[in-house]
Symmetry: C2
Subunit: 463 residues, 2 copies
């Protein structure tokens, strides 16, 4: 009889997409009981955990093919247009189509997606995957090829381009990341900022300086600004909550302390004061004009630890919070995509009455097994292995019994997601990658970063 792990590896193998005979990615889900819709696509964000596993197992070819093919899908010219993907974007997903017996890759940049959401995170994940490939294979030459240098530079230009505002964060529309439906995450959502930081770190290591000095200088300027902005303005712990609670408002001028003019009446300060443990804290979901979204978003917080966007002390505080509020943030299945759910009027207003995102379901505080690997990685990086161990114990048997569902519902994650597919690839890879990271903490290096130090950062061209 197969072990759960053996079963999972086999399912991963079966999820591989072949294009003209070569493996190029993995399907989102392999659930024959439901119509495919776009679950037969390879999503860039979903493939990240597949990629890290293939790299760990020495299956470099799949990741290399994936990087080469998706790079070909990136638009290389035309910047003054609309209704066509912007130069530098990486599609949300692609699939193999067959026309007259010949195979082609069909990409989706959001023009097919429900509500036409933009996959801002794709280009950020793409750079993170590319760096992992170079780390695993030690083949820097691969990333130094001119077409890859151009691809990285185009993404950086898109991210670093002059915009209307002066924050170091990225302004994006609602639903532009893993949460790809409207959920009140317009503006400067944490998930995008954490991925942006990791992608900046990765790009800096991969870009050859010659010819791209302006971009490299831009990255070096942006990294500390972004880091300070997030560490200062997104951070919430009991001390910071007390400062926010007592903020003066309507301050005009450069000396303002309440920079974003947050009215503490808009914050659930009483609930938070009870919920926050003494040494715990986390990054807010969003910060903008008179806006502080105090929801906890898991991917953003955990990626902030892994990429060293937050300080060592803040990293520990986030893990302390997860441990202290385990029932809320993990419950019976690691782990909640965000907490708490939008309910009642907030649900109605922020989601636009989305029936898929009802309270405690799907993106609106559902539990997502894929997050197991990111939780495990953050636990390893902070030396809090017990957290990873406890999470794995919850997930291990149940995932296999439930046939690897996409997500779970309910305040504690007790229900299989109402519209969840079975055999969701990133549920499988989330489990497998967590297993690998527990046994081999050294694999963390594939996608983690130490504290940024501009003096000693070094460049690819110095290697």
């Amino acid at each position: 009889m197969q072990s759960i792990e053996e079963q999972a590896w086999q399912l991963l193998e079966e999820s591989i997409i072949y294009y003209r005979g070569r493996p190029v990615g993995t399907v989102a889900a392999n659930d024959v009981s439901q119509s495919a819709l776009n679950y037969d696509h390879c999503f860039i964000r979903d493939f990240a955990s597949s990629a890290f596993l293939f790299l760990i197992k020495g299956r470099y070819d799949i990741v290399r093919n994936f990087l080469e093919e998706t790079l070909r899908l990136q638009p290389k010219k035309e910047k003054l247009d609309a209704y066509t993907p912007g130069r530098g974007l990486i599609p949300a997903s692609f699939k193999v189509v067959s026309i007259n017996g010949k195979e082609y890759l069909e990409s989706d940049f959001g023009e097919n997606a429900i509500a036409r959401v933009t996959p801002v995170d794709s280009c950020l994940w793409w750079i993170i995957i590319l760096r992992a490939y170079v780390k695993a294979t030690k083949d820097l030459q691969f990333a130094l090829q001119p077409e890859f240098q151009e691809g990285i530079a185009l993404i950086m230009e898109l991210c670093l381009a002059t915009r209307f505002d002066m924050y170091p964060t990225l302004l994006v529309p609602d639903g532009s990341c893993m949460i790809h439906r409207r959920l009140g995450i317009y503006g400067y959502p944490l998930e995008i900022q954490a991925l942006f930081y990791a992608a900046l770190r990765a790009a800096r290591q991969l870009l050859v300086c010659a010819g791209d000095e302006e971009i490299v200088i831009g990255i070096d300027k942006r990294l500390p600004l972004l880091q300070n902005h997030i560490r200062q303005h997104y951070w919430i712990d009991i001390n910071r909550l007390n400062v926010i609670y007592r903020f003066k408002c309507e301050e005009y001028g450069l000396t303002a302390i309440n920079l974003f003019n947050i009215y503490s009446d808009s914050i659930p300060y009483a609930d938070l004061a009870v919920w926050l443990p003494k040494n715990g804290g986390y990054l807010a979901g969003n910060v903008g004009p008179s806006q502080l979204d105090t929801r906890f978003f898991s991917l953003g917080n955990l990626m902030a630890i892994i990429s060293s966007l937050v300080s060592e002390q803040q990293s520990q505080a986030i893990m302390t919070l997860i441990e202290a509020q385990w029932e809320d943030l993990v419950g019976t299945m690691p782990m909640k995509i965000c907490f708490p759910a939008l309910e009642k009027e907030e649900y109605r207003i922020f989601t636009g009455c989305d029936p898929k995102n009802i309270p405690w379901s799907y993106h609106n505080a559902g539990n997502w097994p894929v997050l197991l690997w990111i939780l495990t990685a953050a636990a390893q990086k902070t030396g809090r292995k017990n957290i990873a161990k406890n999470a794995m114990e919850l997930a291990e048997n149940r995932l296999s019994e439930d046939e690897w569902p996409e997500y779970y519902d309910g305040a504690r994650g007790m229900l299989i997601g109402r519209e969840a597919r079975r055999y969701q690839t990133w549920t499988i890879t989330g489990f497998l990658l967590a297993k690998e990271l527990m046994l081999h903490p050294e694999y963390l290096e594939l996608f983690s970063f130490e504290e940024f130090d501009v003096e000693n950062a070094g460049y690819a061209c110095n290697l």
Copy 2:
């Protein structure tokens, strides 16, 4: 004894800011009873109506000086940074400061503003004012100077640059226009799109082709896309409401009809079905993923008429709606900045509990006399002079008696705004400009546009 008009002209004269002996702008308000804060600044958006009046009266020098000085404040380089204004931006406002007896202009790009909001509209208004200057003086050479060509091109580059999404509209943060506080107008708010369209039209007339072909081509591509997008996806009348009401949801793929996946439960369809007159209609406040903001925003709708962003038929429908719902949209003081007010939970969630934007006050459905000129201009353009006449009758005596307040409060605009300044310059210029436009419809040309026709548009370089 002075007539009201004579008084208003004198107050406008007294609002002029002098810089090194030359007139360069007008202060926001001249209310000695309250602390100045930033009301002693010249705001670019506020100055537009002053500029049109000065041009009408042949006072070209002030407008020329304004354009030259603000152009000097525009950042010309550096695009890969943060916490400094982006290349191409025009500041929200400026003031004259004196250091060691020498005068300097100090600009504010939002770094001083409450909640650090970004003045996206400034650069759009700036181009509109520049075109009006050229129209009035017939001095095209002024705009053809290299530094002005560069200034226009930088603004266009900022607006037309590749972004993450594929809409032809501009993605902006909340509070980036006349409504410069959080009010749920993040994303693609109508006011910005209407000003963007007018600025594109103006830039196209002013840009020399040589050297800027890419930008001119970009403008020609964007104009029809933007126009169609707004006319189709922002339009609401009873027929369109019925389509929205019966939308299928969760459509995947290119054939989707409900492109933005709007759930009709999120729309106050029952109220709207009663409120919309048979031949009336208007442009929605915002359209995004699962988002259709059905509030009526006056500046956006009226500017859409003036710039021919909407069709002739749609223009008539908007004026029909204003006439039919006069009590709601105009009440006792022309006119509401938006309608209806955000109340209860919507107020709390969208404004972040802003005490200045309580329901039926200030930006949240207050009445703003400055809109009188834009209403009058739209009435003239559509041949609906009675609307302008009725509006003027409401405003004329009351404004002077109330000492020209910034705004009015209450569902019908019966109360002087709770925190309104007196002697607000754009209240005064709104009244004077409306007067001029009623007597001399030909002045409309300064800032209006006929239907765009790419075939017969012509370029500055052809003149």
